[in-house]
Symmetry: C2
Subunit: 216 residues, 2 copies
């Protein structure tokens, strides 16, 4: 069997590695699993064949033989369950690492996405800057809590885990906002994630797609 | 060992079962596990002892012997892994049910929370109604996708699972918005969840806390 994931044919992040296929690519690189990528257009993503794979019409999807999954949290967890390297063996440490996966996606990511979306959706309104300042403060509150938890630790709970992988990719969405820079230990945490060889391989792979699409 | 969860001493939902301890209570009722509840005030939630259990200062937390968890997704998953009844045995069906857990929390819940938050945070602004209409449409888009996926099915993927449990609790947050009523099969899906005996027991337990607090 071989793994196939989907990714944007033309990623709106211009190869910045912010699209969610980056999370799955990174997880597969951490565990040393090869994978194929099927590129999809925005139009394809809204058609019945893709919606059968992903009811919310997004990327990435994950296919391996009979199994088809969507949601990066679920895909990364599946990879972590099938291969060593992304979750601790000890039961309690494993449960805590899974907690950080959910914390990244359900507590930290939503205010970050909201801040990002606002520009696209209401960026032309007279009240956008007033709203943005409120959304910035919500993100700051989460970053402050995360910074306090992290302290001088290298990763969120012991060794690097799928929880860190998701948290780092979530936090990277703040690139250019200036918010992370207010919390130096969080900035250093993101940098540690980005320095991992598996991260670099995943980043280069998605950048190559963008470069090829731009040249084409 | 015995399970202890935390819940609001004075729930802002006035016993409506919208606070997140409801998810954990329901999961524990589905698998037939008894549990203790420790009630916490808003002040307690922001103090170091609680932040050591929950870095983001929220409820619920989950303690069982040496293990301490936060994040409802993680707690429900832990309960599902330790007991039968919330995840299918077959590997692919299990992975798909876990996908729906993440979909409930990372794709469906964020726009619902955002809509809810807006009232508290910017409800007094002149532009609130303009923003609300945009946030309503974002929720509608997710409900339409969910409705199309669900069709005439009873649950999201085969038998009732932890994915349905989380999705139903997430969708219940729209009570009073009038949005769910636009999608009758989604409304019927929520009603099926609420009709489960385990749901009723969990709901009654959290309502009893509210009534006792109000009488006190």
């Amino acid at each position: 069997m071989s793994i196939t994931i989907t990714a944007f044919e033309h990623s709106p992040d211009r190869g910045g590695g912010h699209a969610r296929d980056m999370r799955v690519r990174w997880a597969l690189e951490e565990v040393g699993q090869p994978y194929d990528v099927r590129l999809v257009s925005f139009k394809t993503m809204k058609q019945p064949a893709h919606l059968a794979l992903h009811p919310f019409g997004q990327i990435p999807t994950y296919q391996d033989g009979d199994l088809a999954l969507f949601e990066t949290g679920s895909i990364v967890f599946h990879i972590a369950e099938c291969h060593r390297g992304l979750l601790p063996d000890e039961a309690n440490a494993r449960a805590r690492a899974i907690t950080w996966m959910f914390a990244a996606l359900n507590t930290v990511e939503p205010p970050i996405v909201e801040r990002e979306q606002a520009r696209y959706v209401v960026g032309d309104k007279a009240w956008y800057s007033e709203l943005l300042s409120i959304l910035d403060d919500r993100v700051r509150a989460r970053l402050a809590q995360l910074s306090r938890w992290l302290g001088d630790a290298e990763w969120l709970d012991g060794s690097f885990s799928a929880g860190d992988l998701l948290m780092v990719t979530v936090l990277r969405r703040l690139d250019g906002s200036g918010l992370v820079e207010e919390f130096p230990n969080v900035a250093a945490y993101i940098a540690r994630g980005e320095a991992r060889p598996a991260y670099r391989r995943a980043f280069d792979a998605q950048l190559a797609v963008f470069k090829a699409a731009s040249a084409g």
